[in-house]
Amino acid sequence: MLTYSAKRLIGLLPLLALISLGAFVLTYLTPGDAAIVIAGESASPERLSEIREQLGLDQPLIEQFFRWLGNAVRGDFGRSLVIDRDVSELISARLGPTVSLVLAGMTVAALIGIPAGLVAGRRPGTLVDRGVTFIATLGIAIPSFWLATILISTFAVQHRIFPAIGYVSPFDDPVAWMHRMVLPAIAIGAASAAEVARQTRSAVSDVVQLDHVRTSRSLGVTDRRIMWKHVLKNAAIPIVTVLGLQIGRLLASGVVIELMFGIPGLGSLAVNSVGARDIPTIQGIVVVVALFVLLTNLVVDLSYAVLNPKVRYQ
């Protein structure tokens, strides 16, 4: 298991190198002189040379990349062009709110998606199954930011049950955090819950139609026992997979949701940096978020190896 994990971890390195290259190249996608694009047409020559120096634009390309990569590996993405702070400092300050939002969304996805999928999948073709499938299809189609608008307008503007904006760290005040996270978590997690429900349903309905399950049922084994012993055991891998895949989706819709609910996370940092053309910060965010996604994919893959020992020996 340890060798397997180590092998998989090493396999990530070429991917990370490619992603870093992509983030690095961003600076060179700017039309014309990057320094002028960033600082604006009216910038003083001193400011322009300052930016050139900061981005290392005055050095040969290959040298620039390896210097940037060398620093990035140590978590140093340079200084922000807008705020007088290190990019790594800005990002680590924003990591907490984003992680807590993603976890809250994931909780919504699992708590709604898995039971809904189980209920629908154990009796495929029934009215309950069709109902769940229809709602899940709708849940995937509704944009998270429209759902958020509806939630805010109903539960924060019309009825003042939940606050519309604001963030409190769960370590400072867990109750206030939960209270403020209800609406954003539903908005961000609804589509994931729908996806999880669909995948759980199809995994469960495949299993209940297997011969040994039908035999057990005909022998009088209780439904509850069948669910725990056969169905969940066999459906676990697809459910874990789809839950793991939600991380990327949650991080992406988190960008808009953080902005709408005033959550000071990576997403709102990304929006601000894009507006200000703060390229070092954007590069840092791209690499950090990609690393996040790669690591969760790895955890999902490793959990296969735990759930199914055959995987380890392939």
Binding site: V37, P143, W146, S153, V255, G275, I282
Partner: protein, 292 residues
């Protein structure tokens, strides 16, 4: 009584024809196709359908509710929301097409190459696709817009870059499966060149799964465009898409709560339509391709 027996060249229909025939038998998918046709007509015929000039401001009629004069009401500077939605359909429908086209242009040839040639080319292209898949599309699109400047085309090209690895995977997978088929060996023995093999055997078999993927990605593209426009990095004013209207509705929430309802429903229906067409197409794939 004479019985006619079909004689002569009864060729079995090709994979694309069989696919189309199965698709036409699906009611939900055909309904969704109808929806898409209606929306496209609305976009094309916008000047005939819109009741007002979508850019005309009327500061004396701000944030009005729905009425016989303004079916969906007016926005915060008194523009007619129904007309803005009708015109907005144009960019809303065009944007995902740009993203999918970019994704296919990048993903299909590379996928064919990787699946058909295998070896080191496949390994390198596969790594690049994996790396692209790990990048969250929305953030990368925002990053590209940040350096290239905000515009709908820039934003959707960036989204297309994110779509490319998905097309790559579908095409590569199908190409891998097909190259093992006996009819490929047969053609090769008969002296067919690689180009000919790809054109007359591989492409027709890749087309159906590719069409399924493209339809699904069109729906994802609608969502991506709406999100980017919502964030203000998509189309620039005075142009509007349904995503832009949603954003304005959100900003006006305290004045006029209903404003985000029509564009919200419209986007959801559009995404649903692409999803239903995609589901119908997938069910039409038939066993011979699905297995591969």
């Amino acid at each position: 009584m004479t019985r006619t027996i079909a004689v002569g060249p009864t060729r079995t229909p090709g994979p694309i024809k069989r696919f189309a025939r199965r698709f036409a038998r699906q009611p939900i998918a055909m309904f969704a196709v109808g929806l898409l046709v209606v929306l496209t007509l609305m976009a094309v015929l916008a000047p005939l359908i819109a009741t007002h000039d979508p850019a005309l401001q009327n500061l004396r009629a701000r944030n009005q509710g729905p009425s016989s004069g303004h079916w969906f009401g007016t926005d915060d500077i008194g523009r007619d929301l129904f007309s803005r939605m009708v015109y907005g359909a144009r960019t809303t429908l065009l944007a995902p097409v740009i993203a999918v086209t970019v994704g296919m242009v990048l993903g299909v040839p590379t996928g064919l190459l990787a699946g058909f040639k295998r070896g080191p080319i496949d390994a390198v292209l596969g790594r690049v696709a994996d790396a692209l898949l790990a990048l969250p599309g929305l953030i990368v699109a925002m990053a590209i817009v940040a350096v290239r400047g905000p515009s709908m085309v820039n934003a959707m090209m960036a989204v297309g870059l994110n779509f490319a690895p998905r097309f790559f995977r579908v095409v590569r997978g199908t190409a891998l499966a097909i190259r093992e088929e006996t009819f490929i060996d047969a053609s090769r023995i008969a002296g067919a060149s690689d180009t000919r093999l790809i054109r007359s055997h591989v492409l027709p078999n890749i087309a159906p799964p590719l069409i399924v993927q493209a339809t699904i990605m069109l729906g994802v593209g609608v969502l991506a465009e709406a999100a980017l426009s919502f964030l203000g990095v998509g189309v620039q004013p005075p142009q509007a898409t349904w995503g832009v209207l949603l954003r304005r509705g959100f900003d006006n929430l305290s004045e006029a709560r209903y404003q985000s309802i029509p564009p919200g429903i419209a986007i959801t229906v559009l995404i649903l339509a692409f999803q239903w067409v995609g589901d119908g197409l997938r069910d039409s794939l038939g066993r011979e391709v699905r297995r591969g």
